[in-house]
Amino acid sequence: MRAPVLTLVLFVALALAMGLGETSLSAHQYVQAFADPASAPAEILWTIRAPRAVAAAVVGAALGLAGAVMQGLLRNPLADPGVLGVSAMAALGAAATIALGLTLPGAVELAALAGALMAGALVVFLAIRLREPDALILFGVALSALGGALTALIFNLSPSLVTTSEVLHWLMGSVANRDWGDIAAGLAPMALGAGLTVYAARGLRMLTLGEETAALSGLPMARLRAAAVAGAALLTGAAVAMAGVIGFVGLAAPHLVRGGVSDDPARTLAPSALAGAILLVLADLAARMIPTSEELKLGVVTALFGAPLFALVAWRASRSWRT
């Protein structure tokens, strides 16, 4: 699917997320929400539903873009921000902060971003030296496992059940109760990350032909590769800081759009961001609307719906994975 269609679908999804909710509003109340900013319907629409829907869209876009970059960089349709260990290290940063009891506002978010950037810096350092994408994937798997193990260690040594439950909630991912300030704080690193991936796009396209050809293509591949990894790390870190750990979006979004841009890794970026945004807005709507005693966590919903959907997409896309 192409960008204009996806943009339209995203707006429909956002409108749905704004229109549906626990409290159903009448047509009159919608008019009131637009006319009188101080009214109760306006409160529901603009300070509860809108920031939540926009946060889902922004996080989804960041994850979809990061996934497209990683898949292009590693020439591997199974790559995503999780593969390089960036998500795991971001989660570790946040979990450590919660366990240490740092209650300063924004401390957990900053720790998540710092964790992602440290993992990103390590991966950038290695991406310049390890030309083979397989080596980078294996390193990412190791980093991811280490992050997961250290997070488990925090659970293991954690003195209180309250801390454990708080970390666990955070690891499951959610955009509930996000306000405009949270979104604004995340936009700066995301914009920087998106800028870097746009710069790296031509390098991703050249890497289609393999490392040796790219090395002699005249493009500054070391710099482009570093920009791609740094951009993906910033996007992932900011997404984890805003919403916790949310899987599958970065993996699935590029697959949904790749066919529409004839597989070109550079032209996959923008549609993939849009598809990620759509997926997460709809997933969050599902999390809110599915009647359960405790509201479903977004990360749980994306995994529950994402895994079977992804299996289906992977099955259909497998013909283009031949080497």
Binding site: L216, G218, P220
Partner: protein
């Protein structure tokens, strides 16, 4: 350009302390096709990688257009040499013309598109310009990748095994195409396995055996009886036929 497009001067490459290429000196001039031959593991690909600055030299020097390859920037090096590696894996199923257009990556998109279509026409793949390269046979994909090499328009074209896996007639066509680039002024360096094809399509041949250059000269001289025995363990020689030279040989048996 008057000097050689590529020179190796006493080049030596080591892997884990062992010399895989030793004391190699050769040059490729504009207008000529130089074929590099040798048994598997003789060092053909390493020679190419050393010449292009992709393999570290433990000794000697590699030059492109008279300038040390180590000192060249990425854009300069790409403007002096185009390279088709032996590895033919393509990551994504992009249309043939987009793959070929990657050879002209520094040109404006419209111009790159035109250059790509010209190059595809040259390799006989114009009809499949819109087809995804993973929906093609290996030989067709090889031709698209050759089109990308030609689209670079570089004064030196280096192709590692460009004829591998192609139909017999396609092998001749590919070599004719590279010969035409040489006639137009490019220097061409290819590695080949087929001695008959090499004898007919290259101006000069460099024969490698165990990392050393054992012969360098016109095909009739380079593929002599002694060299065939030494480098390929073959007993025989080239025979002139109306179609061109043909290799007639059998495996060497020690008496």
């Amino acid at each position: 350009m008057t000097g050689p497009a590529l020179e190796l001067i006493h080049a030596r490459v080591e892997i884990a302390g062992r010399a895989v290429l030793d004391d190699i000196s050769l040059a490729v001039a504009p207008g000529e096709v130089l074929g590099v031959l040798g048994a598997n593991g003789a060092g053909k690909t390493t020679l190419i990688r050393a010449a292009l600055g992709l393999a570290h030299l433990a000794g000697g020097e590699a030059r492109l257009a008279g300038r040390p390859v180590r000192g060249l920037g990425e854009i300069e090096r790409a403007s002096l040499a185009g390279y088709l590696p032996q590895e033919r894996r393509v990551g994504w199923n992009m249309p043939a013309w987009r793959i070929a257009a990657l050879g002209a990556v520094h040109r404006p998109p419209a111009q790159a598109h035109r250059i790509a279509l010209e190059a595809l026409t040259g390799v006989g793949m114009a009809a499949l310009a819109e087809r995804g390269v993973l929906d093609m046979s290996g030989g067709e994909r090889g031709r698209v990748l050759l089109a990308r090499l030609i689209a670079t328009g570089a004064p030196l074209l280096v192709a590692d095994e460009p004829a591998a896996g192609l139909d017999p007639d396609a092998q001749f066509k590919i070599m004719e195409l590279l010969g035409a680039r040489a006639a137009a002024g490019a220097a061409v360096l290819v590695t080949l396995h087929d001695l008959t094809l090499a004898a007919r399509s290259c101006h000069r041949l460099a024969i490698l055996a165990a990392g050393r250059l054992v012969a360098l000269g016109p095909p009739a001289e380079a593929i002599g009886r002694d060299i065939l025995a030494l480098a390929f363990n073959l007993d025989g020689g080239l025979i002139d036929t109306p179609a061109g030279p043909v290799l007639a040989a059998k495996p060497w048996r020690h008496p």
